[in-house]
Symmetry: none
Subunit: 226 residues, 2 copies
């Protein structure tokens, strides 16, 4: 929960609380356990949350709409500014009872493999919290890419002139070596250019590549070691 | 992994394997452990996977492109019909080394909370596998087969072994030419690897580049024109 920026935990009739094992496993996130609301009934846990989603391992739900984690996250985030939303996770073995379900506006189902669908509770919580965080971030960024995702560059991107200088150097050397033929070289030249363009070279990398080319130039070597 | 329909696990130098604790925790998914490839080096683990993504807890990556889990899943699914893709997860404490990174085409970062970003390894695996499953399902629901999302390529993506062959060839030639020095070559080698990894080379391009290298090899030229 905490890795995904979510902090409000309510525990309904926990088997053991506080539990030294749980506290130890929470490591740096034990503040969430310390601040958890511990109660004997779901109604108290839900408090004034106006939107309640139950987590379900089943896709057949009778009359409840079943949404996927992304749809759940969108619905939760859309309600966040004004009102609270809650996700209800049942006990690991038995899941939610009809009484629990009767307090839910919708169910969320994680589409696990039909071959092996038994996602444990911790993993289900992680996936649902992850989708809520992705939805919060995407709402905040309003569709633009997250700053975190931007590439970090060591150096400025190569200018068009620097790229052309590199390609001319490569071309000249490979023509002299006999690899590129002046008569029908078009496809091969194009392919070489394309692969280096895909690499989106920066100025430092251009310098490295040109240094490498110079080191491979028999005449250049002659000049260096006459 | 198994709950998300993913079955191929490779373990590089596991601390303990088989481990009774791991087997017990895997419950119904212990077949994945039994069938895991256990090896002493990452190259063997990657096998002929042609697209390699490293999981990174950091957003600063030097020059590797950093994508989010959804972007990673889309890229992986686009490559699935023909070729393998691998996600490399580092050890829990230390993460990936530069040597690991040098085999990656891109990094995936899960945008955790800046307040508490320490997602443990199991949770990170769950989130990434979840996104791959969602991407597979969404391809199926679109009515498009996974193959339809394939990128347009002239040739099959280069396998890890083909990439290593090219890098070894480049390294050998540039060491012989004096451009790479056996004593302090680390940063320069890494930068060269990284820029070619970003280009996401295909087999045809590997052949072109190796042909170019051979043409620039003074000893190779001697052999051709004695």
């Amino acid at each position: 929960m905490k890795t995904m920026g979510i902090g409000d935990l309510a525990l309904v009739r926990p088997r053991s609380f506080p539990d030294p094992d749980a506290t130890a496993r929470a490591s740096g996130a034990d503040d969430i356990l310390v601040n958890a609301l511990v109660t004997s009934d779901l109604a108290t846990a839900l408090g004034d949350c106006s939107y309640v989603i139950g987590a379900s391992a089943r896709t057949r739900s009778g009359r409840w709409p079943v949404i996927d984690p992304k749809g759940m996250a969108a619905a939760v985030v859309a309600r966040l500014p004004d009102t609270g939303a809650a996700i209800v996770m049942g006990p690991e073995q038995s899941g939610l009872t009809n009484d629990h379900l009767s307090r839910c506006h919708a169910l969320v189902h994680i589409p696990t493999s039909p071959v092996y669908g038994s996602l444990n509770l911790a993993m289900a919580v992680q996936v649902l919290c992850y989708e809520i965080r992705m939805s919060v971030l995407s709402a905040a960024e309003d569709g633009t890419s997250i700053g975190d995702r931007r590439e970090q560059r060591d150096a400025a991107p190569a200018t068009a002139a620097e790229l052309e200088g590199f390609h001319a150097h490569l071309d000249e050397l490979l023509t002299r070596s006999g690899f590129l033929h002046p008569d029908h070289p078009k496809q091969l030249r194009l392919k070489l250019r394309r692969l280096f363009m895909r690499a989106d070279l920066d100025q430092n990398e251009i310098n490295i590549l040109r240094g490498a080319l110079t080191s491979l130039d028999p005449d250049g070597a002659k000049r260096r070691n006459p």
